[in-house]
Amino acid sequence: MEYVISVLLSGISVGGQYALIAIGYTLVYGILRLINFAHGDVFMVAGLMGIYFTATMPITVSIPLVLIMTVILGFVIERAAYKPLRSAPRMSVMISAIGVSYLLQNTATYVTGGQPMTYPEIPFLSSTVGVAGTQTKWVVIITPFLVLALVYLLTLLINHTKVGMAMRAVSKDFATSRLMGIRVNSVISVTFIIGSALAAVGSVLYFTNYPAITPTAGAMPGLKAFVAAVFGGIGSIPGAVIGAFLIGICETIIKGLPSSWDVSVFSDAFTFALLIIILIFKPQGLFGEAATDKV
């Protein structure tokens, strides 16, 4: 019983962290139709900044600073690597995203010397707590609630503010919304800013729980978060969050299956298999809107 609870707990917390990254994917994809492969690496860089800032500054200063710097990074990446390619074929933009991801990973290797870096302990979040006979970190308990709160705020922003309305309009139709006087470039920047900020929050939660950061630390969570976004229906925020929790829980359950079955190695493979199945039977994902082709 204790074992089941502990597996579920880590599943929910992993899912919550995927959710924060998945929102960034789904927002960007919803508007630009771009798989932002660099998003996972932005997440990793946020983690590294957390390490370097807390080494010199108190934690109360450094965490907001990480947030701000990550937002700036996201903004700069969009302006430098994606905006010049707005009229280019979609594949070029995606390649540009892969290029940025390459650059971030290689720079991180250069700066850290390839060493796995240790994320600092954050008061309260890092301390342990006993739940139903098993021990875990506070961050595990807090993550799902924080995620739900952030998602609630985000849906408010999207459904009830002017920026949100603009975002919805741009995602429906690029050209028409420009004609309607919406500054498309600003809206896209706002999207990247929101996505990066959530990735920064996600990095604090994720790396407090799993404190070793390598230059490739962002790749796998990034890919899984994208799968979660597709799973939930790309462009849909609640879909991405539910998809992320489902994937997080399934993954930890598979890892937790008895060793004699020897299937725990397939936890990642299962995520992808699930994705392929969903795509075949419900190509729009769980909550996505069906797009109709106009001739």
């Binding site: 992993v14 010397g113 060493q115 342990t128 875990t136 796998m220 930890t252 060793s259 397939f266």
Partner: protein
């Protein structure tokens, strides 16, 4: 316009090609003028960058300590030529041929067996001897006459650890965790299983996918299955992650680690926790006062070395191995009596050297003859390694 730029770029690249060719030294096996070049075939990017850089550190220190070698009455300067094999088998052949192209006298490395096996044929083809430093897979030297190594093998190490688990903890049930698809992890787990089960124990094996970071499920599983020891022969980043998560889960089962876990980053993760971590390794700090002092000074006075060592001056066993490898190379050059790569290759099997990690000699396959490993444990209060015992394998 664009085409012109493209042409100019292509032209520039061709020019740089010529420049590279020109810069490369004229023929003369392994030496030009009064310099002997030793190739360093190590990863400095990719997954094993951390270990590779620490190994290079040992060689660089040794090189700064003894920068010359006397051969046949003539004093040669020794120069280290680096080639990054990127920790991956597909980058290794070009790194190997880079070294071959630079006309090195012999090669040291690599950290990690996969890259050594991928680069090995290039060295063999060029008639260049390579001395593996910490590549522990049996297949590195088997079937390759030109590959030697100064470290012990996976099967020996697994044997040592299995015996240690039974001697020290009277363990009956062991939980083994390795990375899926990593020949190092899986090889050690398989050998450990053989020895442990032969002695009447029970072994549970498990693997995690590459780039995994959540180990709590695995650790909880080990706990709920009632394992007496947890054997985790994984690479540094995973080991660090496992230690951190074990401490937050309050795991009190002793951990056994292989030589990769003998790393200051892993040690740091156990500091201030209640974890029990035992690792088998090549070298124990304090084994040689002079070496300890020398390398610590070297690290402190060189900021690049400090970064490569992860920002502190705890000595990793791979650094000591890198140091020894350099001196073995010098011995081989001296024994050959010439900087010619063929002569050096012929001389290596006869080399005997007492290094900081113990005495080194080679057997018929080219493996080091070693029958002991050091076991050390993490002192979690002070964040240092404490010597546990010298363990020999079960008699073969």
């Amino acid at each position: 316009m664009k085409k012109i730029i493209a042409l100019i770029m292509a032209g520039a690249m061709t020019l740089s090609l010529c420049a590279c060719g020109g810069a490369a030294p004229a023929q003369g096996a392994g030496a030009s003028g009064d310099t002997i070049r030793i190739g360093v075939f190590e990863p400095s990017t990719g997954d094993s960058a951390s270990g590779g850089k620490k190994e290079i550190l040992g060689m660089q220190f040794a090189n700064s300590e003894t920068p010359t070698v006397e051969v046949g009455g003539k004093t040669y300067n020794v120069e280290l030529v680096m080639a990054d094999n990127g920790s991956s088998a597909d980058k290794a052949p070009s790194a190997a041929s880079e070294l071959v192209g630079k006309d090195v006298a012999l090669v040291l490395g690599s950290y990690g067996s996969g890259v050594s096996m991928a680069g090995g044929p290039k060295f063999e083809e060029a008639g260049l001897a390579a001395i593996g430093v910490t590549c522990t897979n049996p297949n590195v030297t088997a079937g390759n006459d030109y590959y030697f190594r100064i470290c012990f093998l996976d099967n020996f190490q697994a044997d040592v650890l299995a015996n240690f688990a039974m001697d020290k903890f009277s363990a009956k049930k062991a939980y083994c965790l390795g990375e899926n698809g990593n020949e190092y992890d899986q090889g050690l787990v398989a050998f450990f299983k053989q020895v442990f089960e032969a002695a009447g124990g029970e072994v549970i094996t498990d693997s995690f996918p590459t780039n995994n970071s959540d180990f709590t499920s695995y650790l909880n599983k080990a706990k709920s299955e009632g394992a007496d020891v947890i054997f985790t022969p994984v690479s540094i980043a995973y080991a660090k992650q496992i230690m951190e998560q074990a401490s937050s889960l309050g795991i009190d089962i002793p951990f056994l680690g292989s030589d990769t876990l003998d790393d200051n980053m892993v040690l740091e993760a156990t500091k201030g926790t209640n974890l029990q971590l035992y690792v088998s390794t090549f070298y124990q700090e304090g084994g040689s006062e002079a070496f300890d002092k020398g390398i610590k000074d070297y690290i402190k006075h060189n900021s690049n070395a400090m970064t490569a060592n992860g920002g502190n001056d705890t000595i990793s066993a791979v650094t000591a191995m890198g140091y020894d490898a350099y001196y073995v190379a010098l011995e081989a050059i001296k024994a050959a009596g010439s900087p010619d790569k063929g002569a050096i290759k012929a001389a290596i099997p006869g080399v005997k050297y007492d290094g900081v990690s113990g005495s080194i000699a080679f057997d018929a396959v080219g493996d080091a003859v070693r029958d002991t490993a050091y076991i050390k444990t993490a002192d979690t209060a002070s964040g240092t390694w404490a010597f546990e015992k010298v363990q020999t394998g079960s008699s073969k």
